[in-house]
């Protein structure tokens, strides 16, 4: 009896390590499971466990405050510290939750789009990618972030290239080149910080940067870090790897990556910008965060306009992602509690929305064999449930009230309005970009519902294993649009704790 309690206790105490170790160990095991559906079932099981850990961690953080975990019992700043506060607990939840919802969906998509003899490798890469993203999020060590970034990037290249579409190879290569560039920049930035301070622990870094902050080295470190991270989360003008990467990869990969990968990079940006550099007075004159604003604005305008002119649904969604990343960057760039709340809550809301939209696109791809918009004529009649979910999630992308997208935009616009006349202009631009979203979503609606199907091959509704995750995310868009206590409250707490450390 007492041993059982003891075991339970130690399990709970070691959750931060398990969050990363479980998928990491699971990945090589996965490669041995060569029987049909085995790797998939195993990955699903691991995802469920990881999700449970993330939920438990979030609860612990919300009730007991920040968790600091010493890896291997080595006290920080010598050892690696896993440090979990509101913001990364929230991101852990998003990443593991999306993986759990996307895996049931992946079953049929992967069967169709990935050769049978590579399934075990595919799911192993999936788990490694999950491990990498969770690791980036949970660690409190700057160099450790780089390590996990490489793990997630390398497995992402594999995932993108795993499909049958040969264009996926060039897309993966393009991403590989840019991703490596970004990772190298981040490594240089971290290296410079290490030279100046002699520490890699993030909290320790923030403490020790003060005296040396007004040096070229630290400024260069900041520049390298920001540019490197911007490359990873496809902020305009470093966005061009993203449309191909999402469009040519297997549908399930597009769902998983669009909903998680960029969010994690945004988190890293938040971490460096506010926790590490936030306390530095010398950077106040630089308006460090403000530097993001022009790129953010360009991102959401260019992304939305480009989305209107796409001929392929997946590419359209990918360009729209570039625009949505712009919104997040805008919220972060404003640097106020409302702005940060908007940026963080949009990470969550956009994960739901874009996940649902890519799922719908993938379901259409499975049934029709293409996502060219002209081939989707009449899909509203042949695949009514998929198309309806697409339209409903599309409303969330536009930001129609009652959807979660509206909540993000509401905070974003309010945050912009606090900045006087420039703020009015910004708010106007955000609304203008929403109208552009109406246009590109409506193009699909018109083709899907008001054109007759081309005839020929019989198009079937997507299988239940795809519809259920799709509708779960779609209804999630509405649930979190009407019931904002969870998402907004957590985001606000996260924003305040980020800014609180800064002051």
């Amino acid at each position: 009896m007492s041993t059982a309690t003891h075991a339970g206790f130690s399990l709970l105490a070691n959750l931060p390590a398990l969050q990363v170790v479980v998928p990491m160990v699971a990945a090589p095991i996965c490669t041995f499971l060569r029987f049909r559906n085995g790797p998939w079932a195993f990955a699903l099981l691991v995802s469920a466990a990881v999700f449970w850990i993330a939920v438990t961690l979030l609860q612990q953080v919300l009730t007991h405050g920040v968790i600091s975990y010493e890896m291997g019992g080595w006290a920080p700043p010598i050892g690696i510290e896993y440090r979990i506060d509101e913001i990364n607990a929230f991101v852990l939840l998003i990443v593991s939750g999306i993986s759990l919802v996307a895996l049931p969906y992946a079953l049929r998509s992967v069967e169709r789009e990935v050769p049978q003899d590579k399934h075990h490798l595919f799911y192993a890469a999936w788990l490694l990618c999950l491990c990498g993203m969770l690791g980036i999020t949970i660690t409190g060590d700057a160099f450790n972030i780089f390590v996990f970034l490489e793990i997630s990037s390398l497995s992402t290249y594999m995932l993108i290239a795993s499909g049958r579409d040969p264009r996926a190879l060039t897309a993966a290569f393009q991403y590989l080149v840019l991703g490596t560039l970004g990772a190298t920049f981040i490594l240089i930035g971290v290296g410079l910080l290490y030279i100046m301070t002699g520490t890699l622990n993030i909290i320790d870094l923030a403490d020790r940067l003060g005296p040396v902050s007004d040096t070229t080295s630290v400024r260069a470190a900041a520049a390298f870090l920001i540019v490197g991270i911007a490359l990873k989360f496809a902020l305009f003008p470093a966005h061009f790897w993203l449309p191909n990467g999402y469009a040519y990869s297997p549908s399930a990969v597009a769902v998983f990556l669009s909903a998680t990968a960029t969010k994690v990079s945004v988190y890293v940006l938040l971490r460096f910008e506010f926790t590490v550099f936030g306390g530095i007075e010398a950077f106040d004159d630089l308006h460090f965060a403000r530097l993001l604003l022009p790129f953010a604005i360009a991102a959401f305008l260019v992304g939305s306009i480009a989305a209107i002119f796409q001929t392929d649904l997946k590419r359209l969604l990918a360009w729209s992602s570039i625009a949505q990343i712009g919104y997040m960057a805008l919220g972060i760039g404003l640097g106020t509690p409302d702005g940060l709340t908007a940026g963080i809550v949009h990470m969550f809301n956009h994960a739901l929305t874009k996940g649902a939209l890519f799922m719908a696109a993938g379901a259409m791809f499975l049934s029709i064999g293409s996502t060219r918009i002209t081939n989707l004529a009449g899909v509203g009649k042949t695949m009514p449930f998929t198309t309806l979910a697409f339209v409903l999630a599309g409303f969330s992308l536009i930001g129609v009230p009652t959807t979660s997208g509206f909540i993000s935009k509401w905070y974003l616009v309010l945050a912009a309005l606090q900045h006087g006349n420039a703020g009015y202009f910004l708010a106007g631009l955000v609304l203008f970009s929403s109208i552009l979203a109406v246009i590109y979503i409506w193009r699909i609606v018109e083709v899907a519902y008001f054109r007759e199907p081309a005839g020929g091959a019989v198009v079937k509704e997507a299988p239940l294993s795809m519809l259920l995750p799709l509708w779960a995310l779609t209804l999630g868009c509405y649930f979190f649009g009407l019931e904002t206590h969870y998402s907004v409250d957590i985001a606000r707490q996260a924003a305040e704790s980020l800014l609180g450390i800064a002051r």
Binding site: I407, A427, S434, V438, Y449, F450, L482
Partner: protein, 492 residues
């Protein structure tokens, strides 16, 4: 006895239940139309059940969701919204009868989609009517736009698609581009988006900003069709006539002007509108629209397009009434919603009847129409006289009140504008029945002329709405008493 709150929820739910019933019974047209009629009747009974309480001064309220503190989906019924809901739900019954005759008479395709979208539109219109804050109004306003789009493009040909694109483009762009920023601006200024007696903006905004905010609202509500955002209405005339009749003469356009009155009364407040000179531009804008639209109507040969421009002109009467900022103006404008609804739906019903029976759409082809379709043409004349404003028909009272309101506000020239506009109404509406009765149909020879009326269902509907214009003349006093409290702060 159900609580008023339940009635409010039912008012939104009944059309949706009907919608499901319509889809499920889609393969059996007779059952499907039965479902539509039962739903419409149940809906009207339910809406009327709220009426006595509102008349005695109650303002029942239901909050469905609270998204963020202060941001809710809330329904609160005040007299104006009550009246709009009563009009929309009652005329839905009549319009359903008419639709059955029209859609079958014309052998239209996709009838299930037609009736389903219709039910959804009515639910949205009632949501607009009962909205207790700007956000709720905005949500249902958008649902109304989207649910009527398939109705506008019903025919599915290139013309219909082009019309639909104009319709959707203008309505969505103005609402998101102008109305939503106005709502956010209001929130920014006052911290609330609720409709409050006496308004919330008094003392919070003044001068050019007040005029600009009003402009964002009025042009953001594209459904009110104030020039230059009126183009969508003629474009929407590609829709089947029952749609033009109930939606583009009653539910959709009235949702627009209703929203304008509601915002002026409950967000700006009459005190702000009447004392702030920077908002006076709206009086002139409305006056210009109502005159210009009448002039354009005279040059339209297509009957439905002529009626559409006439609607644009009549909508500006309502906007004008609200813009005057006087009690008489607002009550006159509000009453005009009811009066014009009855008159214009009759005119559209007649236009549709002529199309079903004779397949004629152009006015120049309608010589002698009165000899072929005497009942229809007679009812057209009644409707026209009501729209012009001749006693003993409903339209005369609202115009009278608007003139009184204009005099109260010190805009004497408006009386002149209204008189000129009435003359223009005579000039573009009356020739149709007059030539119809006086002239012989071309090519009919000297012999007796064979009568050829529209299907019975259409005729019944036409007669009901035509008599309604007469009834409204006699109950105008009751409508006046019912609406007056909205203009008195603390009196409602």
């Amino acid at each position: 006895m159900m609580s008023l709150e339940t009635h409010i929820e039912l008012a939104l739910l009944i059309p949706l239940i009907g919608l499901i019933g319509i889809i499920l019974t889609g393969r059996m047209p007779n059952v499907r139309e039965g479902v539509t009629l039962v739903t419409a009747t149940a809906n009207a009974i339910n809406v009327w059940a709220i009426f006595p309480a509102v008349q005695s001064g109650a303002q029942p309220s239901v909050t469905l969701f609270e998204m963020l503190p202060g941001l809710t989906v809330n329904f609160t019924i005040e007299p104006l919204g009550m009246m709009f809901a009563v009009i929309a739900s009652t005329l839905w019954i009549v319009n359903s009868i008419y639709s059955i005759g029209y859609m079958r008479g014309n052998k239209e395709q996709n009838q299930t989609r037609f009736y389903a979208c219709f039910a959804l539109s009515i639910s949205a219109a009632i949501g607009v009517a009962f909205a207790g804050n700007l956000l709720t109004l905005f949500i249902f306003y958008e649902i109304l736009t989207l649910s009527t789009y398939p109705l506008v493009t019903h025919k599915g040909n290139e013309d219909a698609k082009r019309g639909g694109r104009t319709y959707l483009g203008i309505l969505m762009a103005t609402s998101i581009g102008l109305q939503l920023p106005a709502i956010i601006w209001t929130w920014h200024l006052t911290g609330t988006i609720d409709f409050v007696e006496g308004g919330t903006l008094l003392g919070k905004v003044q001068g050019v900003s007040a005029g600009l905010l009003l402009a964002l609202y009025v042009y953001g509500i594209g459904k009110a069709a104030l020039m230059p955002v009126h183009k969508w209405l003629p474009a929407a005339m590609v829709a089947p006539t029952p749609v033009s009749a109930l939606l583009h003469a009653v539910a959709v356009v009235k949702a627009g002007v209703f929203s304008v009155i509601k915002i002026i009364v409950y967000v700006f407040g009459l005190e702000l509108i009447s004392t702030e000179t920077a908002t006076n531009w709206l009086v002139y804008a409305a006056a210009i629209t109502l005159t210009l639209a009448s002039l354009i109507a005279m040059n339209q040969d297509n009957l439905k397009r002529r009626l559409a421009y006439s609607t644009i002109s009549q909508l500006s009467y309502v906007i004008l009434g609200a813009a005057l900022g006087t009690a008489m103006g607002v009550v006159g404008g509000g009453m005009h919603i009811a009066m014009h609804a009855a008159g214009k739906i009759t005119l559209f019903f007649c236009a549709g009847a002529i199309y079903v029976a004779l397949h004629k759409t152009e006015i120049s082809d309608m010589k002698g129409i009165g000899r072929i379709m005497p009942v229809t043409t007679f009812c057209f004349m009644i409707g026209a006289l009501s729209v012009i404003g001749i006693p003993p028909l409903g339209g005369s009272w609202s115009k009278f009140l608007l003139m009184v309101g204009a005099a109260d506000a010190g805009f004497q020239f408006i009386i002149g504008v209204l008189i000129v506009s009435s003359l223009l109404n005579v000039a573009y509406l009356m020739p149709i029945p007059l030539r119809g009765f006086m002239l012989r149909p071309p090519g009919a020879g000297d012999g007796p002329i064979r009568r050829q009326e529209a299907p019975l269902a259409c005729l019944i509907a036409i007669c009901i709405t035509a008599s309604l214009t007469l009834v409204l003349f006699f109950i105008a006093g009751d409508i006046y008493d019912f609406l007056l409290p909205i203009t008195i702060v603390g009196g409602g």
